[in-house]
Each structure stands twice: as structure tokens, then as C-alpha cells.
């Protein structure tokens, strides 16, 4: 099977996306943006799976992507619900202000 784009390039893209996501999670203060960044990270890993699957001609990669998709959907719905609750309680979405659980 010939492919126009080499696996390495796709992996690089996935890595780039992942780092972007992590950076977003770390530097963002708003929980919604952090959630978005997490979604980017999930998609980055999904991309890596698809690329790997196509590289070895195995269906597992795509199966994993569907798992990730389903999980991401669930995560987003629960995450957003939690965020709503947090906003109700604290009137803020600033992660630095939500640090009650320190040791």
C-alpha cells in the first residue's frame, strides 16, 4: 500500500498536537480552555493510533480511535457538567483559585 504522506510526518504532527495540548493545559487558567486542550491531546493520540494502524495495515488503530472518540465524548459531557457545577459554586472558572484540596 502506497501512501502519499509518510508515517513519520503524521507522527510528528501528532506529537506537535500533543505538546500543544499539554502546553494549553499547563498555561491556561480557564477550566474550559483546559478541557479543550485535553481534547486536543486526545485527538493527537488518536491520530497517532490511526497512523500506526495504517503503517502496519492493522485495523486496531482505527478501533482504538473509535474508543478514544467515545471516551472523549463521555469525558466532555461529564467534564462540562462538572465545570457548570464548579461555576455555580465558586462563581469562577480560574483553576488557580480552585485549590482547596491542598495537603
Amino acid at each position: 500500500m502506497s501512501s502519499s504522506v509518510s508515517t513519520e510526518i503524521v507522527m510528528l504532527l501528532a506529537a506537535l498536537l500533543f505538546v500543544l495540548g499539554i502546553t494549553g493545559v499547563i498555561i491556561r487558567k480557564n477550566i474550559i480552555f483546559m478541557l479543550l486542550s485535553v481534547e486536543i491531546m486526545l485527538n493527537a493520540s488518536g491520530l497517532a493510533f490511526v497512523a500506526a494502524g495504517s503503517r502496519w495495515g492493522q485495523p486496531d488503530g482505527q478501533v482504538m480511535f473509535i474508543f478514544i472518540l467515545a471516551m472523549a465524548a463521555a469525558e466532555v459531557s461529564i467534564g462540562l457538567a462538572l465545570i457548570l457545577q464548579i461555576y455555580h459554586q465558586h462563581k469562577s472558572l480560574d483553576i488557580d483559585k480552585l485549590r482547596e484540596m491542598n495537603g
Binding site: 499539554i22 493545559v25 499547563i26 483546559m34 483553576i95 488557580d96 480552585l98 485549590r99 482547596e100 484540596m101 491542598n102 495537603g103
Partner: protein, 629 residues
């Protein structure tokens, strides 16, 4: 008849048990009857058994009675068994006879005390333990009696327990004697492993075959036993408890701290004489301890104010004579002096008790005086006792017993001129302090008025004891005074006779010197305290004399030395370590754990981004390591 032997200790024990169980409910008459009666019955049984024993058992020297086997552990099989021979007979006689007299006296003396029944209970227990001590057939049972008398001594010294000083004196007595006891226990262990038994007759029979003379093990064992004896008999350096023990009631001092318990060491050494004979060094040490003690205590007696302390130091000194006699191998002389001393010292203590009570608990001799005409009976009996103590020639029993010791200190094979000189110098001092005590107490002006006179219960024992303090000496007379040897004949069934190195014909010279020492002591004190008292006043102004006086008065500083070397460090270490230094180690572990926990919990900030950073850095490190390795 002899098989009633067990009754002798059992009667006082029964008295004790009755008094403990029902003492609170008995009337004081019944209490006294129980206390006195049990001991008197015991004395009666002793006399009967003694007569029977003496008439029948000439060939068989020991009567043996096993009550039950105490324990039986792999060959170690001590029995609760009594054995009677001439030596224990003498001791049992003295204990029960003088014991019952002192009990009679106590019935009067203690009549006003609220703890009447407790007093008699303790006294009965004491007599029981003391009888076990001298009747025991093995060393372990003897150890039971040995510690038992220590307990009773403790209880009776601290009889008036509400005064902390009495409690202190009692504890001091117990702990110091326990040091000796512990050494003695080690001696018992050695003996057991050397002889495979603790039965005294077997040890004596086998000693010569198991040990060569003068081997180190023989010396060490003998010295360990001696240490036990030194503790109980208040010999140097374990003598410091006895003067303080005078905190107890006077009958206690008479019975325990003069007549019986303090001579337990003499009994032990005489009983184990075979072991001591195997070690010349040990025997020399016994003599040396006795000689030094008799001098040291004599000087201290010379400087006391308290009449009972004079008597206490004099007891130490007289027991020193007994040790000296034991050390030079004059076994029978030591036991003879023990018996005579028991009579006259019990008499002196009881008479002193009568005086003290009459003067409203006044112990200080310098506040007494002029009692000669006010308490004639006490005066005369006391005088007889004092004469015996200072060994007044010919008419006092003390002369005959002490003269024998003086003679053997010179003449025995193991004797020496030095020992003799110390002994005769001691006799001089003895006469001096006795006279001083007599003069201060009975002559001069009256310094304290008499409260009430002693009753019959108290005076009759005094008279009887005074009688014996004169007569008892006549059962053993030196060879140039008729050579009457009833007592030593009796004891030679058990104890060997003394080997002499000097000629008996020269004995009269030494007797003459002893006369001179006694009269010299009396005369000197007579001059200084009675005829020309200003001389003693002048001496008192001399500062070096003063400090010497104080030094002697405080018992040669032994108390302070022991406090400094043993007691204070012990208490100090105990006090600073009260909270247990080992526990600080575990506290240390706890606090290290606590700090670690603080440290770790500080990383949990609650900030989500901090955690993510941590995760990312961790992941990078792991990846990096993966790549690099």
C-alpha cells in the same frame, strides 16, 4: 521427744498468724498473751528438747527432721528440714529464752501503743525467722530465715512509720544487709556447683576432699559468705545501718539488734567453719574485719549523745570481738561471747528503754543524770550489764567470755600480737565508753524529771537478765581459775578446739593486762567525766579534738562516703533518666516520620497545574531515560 523440734519455730509462727488474722479483734491482754505465750512455750519446748538432746545424743551429734521437700529440680533438691546440734541448740536457747523475756518486757513497754498487735506479730515473725535461720539444715532454708529476719528488722525499725526518718533507717538497714545477702547468694551458687548440695552437714563433710586448702575458690566462697555475715552482723564496711536502726522501739533493739539477728553472721561463719578453715586468707580477713570493726565502733561509741547509739556502736564492737575470735579459730570463744553478750546487751537495751520511757522519750544522755537514786532497780541492773560489757574482772560474765577471746587472739595459732593489742585496746575503750554512759546517765544532777516508773512486766525481765549476766560466765572458766569448761565441751561436739601456739601457763599475765585495761578505761573516764569535768571542757575547746570528736561521732564518715560513692550517683542517674532515655530513640523515630510527612504533604498544593507539571516532567524524565539507556 526430739521429734517435737518443729514445734520450736512453729509456735511463734502460729502466734504470728493468729495476730495477723485476728489481731484487730483481740483485746490487748489476749494479744500480749499470744505474743508472749507462743515464744515462752517455744522456750519451754527448747529446754525440754535440749535436756533430752544432751542426755541422749552423745554419740549422734545431730538430730535431723525433714518436714517436706521444698522443691526438686533436676537434682537440686533442698528440703524444708531442721537439724539440731550443740551449736544450734545454744542459739535456739538464747533466741527463745531471751526472746520470751523481751516479749514480757514489751508487753509492758508497748502497752500504750495503738499498734500493739502489729508489734507482737512482727516480733513473733522475727523469732520464727531467726529460729529457722539457726535450725535450717541447708543453706537455702537458712537463707529464708536470713532474709526473713531482715524483713522483720525492717518492719520493726520502721515500726513508728509515720516519721519518715524511721522509714529511712529501716530501708537503709534492709538495703545494706541485702548487699551482703546478695554476696551470700552468690556464695551459695558457688557452693552448690562445687559440692552439688546445699546441706550444711554434707558440705562440711566433703569440703576437705573437694577443695585443697588455700585454693582461690575456697577463699572466694568463704569471703562471699563472710560478706553475708558482714551485712547482717554490721561489720565494717557494712556497719552503717545499725546505729540508725535504733529508731525502732527499745525491745526491738534488744532482741534484734543486740541479742540475736546481728549475730547471725557469727552463726554462719561458725556453722561453715570447715570452709573457713580451708582458707587461711579468708580467716585472716575475718579476724581483720573483726579487729578493725571493734576499734572503729568503739571510738564512735565514745562520742555518742544518744544512749541507744552508744549501745548500738558497742554492739558492733562486741560482734567485732566475736569475728576476731572466729578469725583466730577460737570458735567456742566466739559463741560463748555471743551468748554472754546476748544476756548483758539485751539487759542494757531493756534498761535503757525503761529509762527512755521514764524520761518521756529522752534519748540524750546529756539530758539525763542523777537517776541512781530515782530508779534504783534500773540502776543496779544496768550497772550489772555495764560491768559485764566492760568485762569487770571476776564478777561479771563478760569478763570470762572476753578474756577468752583476748587470750586466743594472742595464743591461738592464727592469733598475733597485733590482734591481741587491738583487742585489749578495744577492751580499754569499751570500759571507757561504758563508764561514760553510766556516769552521764546515773550520776550528776537530774536534768530531766521522771514521768513514770516501769511496771513489773518490765522490771522482772531486767532482774532475770541481770542474774544471767553475772552467773552465765561461770560455766566456762579459764584454766587457772578452776578450768571449768562446760560450755566449750558442749560445743566441741560441733566446733573444733583452738590450736594454741603459746604456753597456757603465761595466761595469767594477759589476764592481768586485761584487768589493767578495764580499770584504766574506767579510771580515765572517772577522772574526766566525774572528778574533774573541767578537763573534758578544756579538751572540747581544742578544735582538732572537736573535729576528731565529730568524725567519730558520725561513725568515721562512712555514711557520707557511701552516699557520695553509691547512693547519690544511683539516685542521680535514676532521676535524670526518669523518663527513660531509650524511649527518646523511639520518639526520635516518630518525629522523623512526622517531619517526612510534613515535607511530603507540602508538595500537595491543590493546584491542578502544579500536578500536571509534575506529571509532564515525570513523563519527560522517564522518556529521556528510556532514550538514553
Amino acid at each position: 521427744m526430739n521429734n517435737l523440734l518443729w514445734l520450736i519455730p512453729a509456735l511463734p509462727l502460729a502466734g504470728f498468724l493468729l495476730l495477723v488474722a485476728a489481731g484487730k479483734h483481740l483485746s490487748s491482754k489476749l494479744v500480749a498473751l499470744t505474743g508472749v505465750g507462743s515464744i515462752s512455750l517455744s522456750a519451754l519446748v527448747t529446754i525440754m528438747i535440749g535436756l533430752n538432746f544432751l542426755s541422749s545424743a552423745t554419740d549422734k551429734e545431730t538430730y535431723h527432721q525433714t518436714l517436706w521437700t521444698w522443691m526438686d529440680v533436676g537434682g537440686f533438691r533442698p528440703e524444708i528440714a531442721l537439724s539440731l546440734d550443740a551449736l544450734s541448740l545454744v542459739f535456739v536457747f538464747v533466741i527463745t529464752f531471751i526472746g520470751s523475756l523481751i516479749h514480757v518486757y514489751s508487753a509492758g513497754f508497748m502497752a500504750a501503743d495503738k499498734d500493739y498487735s502489729r508489734f507482737f506479730a512482727c516480733m513473733n515473725l522475727f523469732v520464727f525467722s531467726m529460729l529457722i535461720l539457726v535450725l535450717a539444715d541447708n543453706l537455702l532454708l537458712m537463707y529464708l530465715g536470713w532474709e526473713g529476719v531482715g524483713l522483720c528488722s525492717y518492719l520493726l525499725i520502721g515500726f513508728w512509720y509515720e516519721n519518715p526518718a524511721n522509714g529511712y533507717a529501716a530501708r537503709k538497714a534492709f538495703v545494706i544487709t541485702r548487699i551482703g545477702d546478695t554476696a551470700m547468694a552468690l556464695g551459695l551458687f558457688t557452693i552448690y556447683y562445687q559440692f552439688g548440695t546445699l546441706v550444711m552437714s554434707e558440705i562440711s563433710a566433703n569440703a576437705a576432699s573437694v577443695w585443697q586448702p588455700n585454693t582461690p575458690i575456697a577463699t572466694v566462697t568463704a569471703l562471699l559468705l563472710l560478706a553475708g555475715g558482714m551485712g547482717k552482723s554490721a561489720q565494717l564496711p557494712l556497719q552503717t545501718w545499725l546505729p540508725d536502726a535504733m529508731a525502732g522501739p527499745s525491745p526491738v533493739s534488744a532482741l534484734i539488734h543486740a541479742a540475736t539477728m546481728v549475730t547471725a553472721g557469727v552463726y554462719l561463719i561458725a556453722r561453715m567453719h570447715v570452709l573457713f578453715e580451708l582458707s587461711a586468707l579468708a580467716q585472716m580477713i575475718v579476724a581483720g574485719v573483726g579487729a578493725v570493726t571493734l576499734l572503729v565502733a568503739g571510738f564512735s561509741a565514745l562520742t555518742q549523745y544518744d544512749i541507744k547509739r552508744v549501745l548500738a556502736y558497742s554492739t558492733i564492737s562486741q560482734i567485732g570481738y566475736m569475728f576476731l575470735a572466729l578469725g583466730v579459730g577460737a570458735w567456742t570463744a566466739a559463741i560463748f561471747h555471743f551468748m554472754i553478750h546476748a544476756f548483758f546487751k539485751a539487759l542494757l537495751f531493756l534498761a535503757a528503754g525503761a529509762i527512755i520511757e521514764a524520761l518521756g522519750h529522752e534519748h540524750n544522755m546529756f539530758k539525763m543524770g542523777g537517776l541512781k537514786d530515782k530508779m534504783p532497780l534500773v540502776f543496779w541492773t544496768f550497772l550489772i550489764g555495764a560491768a559485764s560489757l566492760s568485762a569487770l574482772p571476776l564478777i561479771s560474765a563478760g569478763f570470762y567470755s572476753k578474756d577468752q577471746i583476748l587470750w586466743y587472739a594472742w595464743a591461738s595459732e592464727k592469733g598475733s600480737p597485733i590482734l591481741w593489742f587491738i583487742a585489749i585496746f578495744g577492751a580499754f575503750i569499751t570500759a571507757a565508753y561504758t563508764t561514760r554512759m553510766m556516769i552521764l546517765t546515773f550520776w550528776g544532777v537530774t536534768r530531766t524529771e521522771i514521768g513514770h516508773h516501769p511496771g513489773k512486766l518490765m522490771t522482772i525481765p531486767l532482774i532475770i537478765l541481770a542474774f544471767f549476766s553475772v552467773v552465765a560466765g561461770f560455766i566456762e572458766l579459764p584454766h587457772n581459775f578452776g578450768h571449768f569448761t562446760l560450755f566449750s565441751d558442749l560445743l566441741h561436739r560441733v566446733l573444733p578446739s583452738t590450736v594454741l601456739q603459746a604456753d597456757e601457763s603465761s595466761e595469767w599475765k594477759f589476764q592481768l593486762l586485761a584487768f589493767l585495761a578495764t580499770f584504766g578505761g574506767i579510771y580515765l573516764v572517772f577522772i574526766y567525766y566525774y572528778r574533774e569535768p573541767y578537763k573534758i571542757e578544756r579538751l572540747r575547746e581544742n578544735s582538732s579534738f572537736q573535729s576528731l570528736y565529730r568524725f567519730w561521732h558520725n561513725g568515721w564518715g562512712f555514711d557520707r562516703l557511701f552516699d557520695l560513692v553509691f547512693v547519690n550517683p544511683f539516685v542521680f542517674i535514676a532521676q535524670i533518666n526518669k523518663r527513660d532515655i531509650v524511649d527518646r530513640f523511639y520518639d526520635g523515630i516518630t518525629s522523623v516520620t512526622e517531619h517526612l510527612y510534613r515535607l511530603l504533604s507540602a508538595t500537595q498544593t491543590g493546584s491542578l497545574r502544579w500536578y500536571i507539571m509534575g506529571m509532564v516532567i515525570g513523563a519527560i524524565i522517564i522518556l529521556g531515560l528510556q532514550i538514553m539507556l
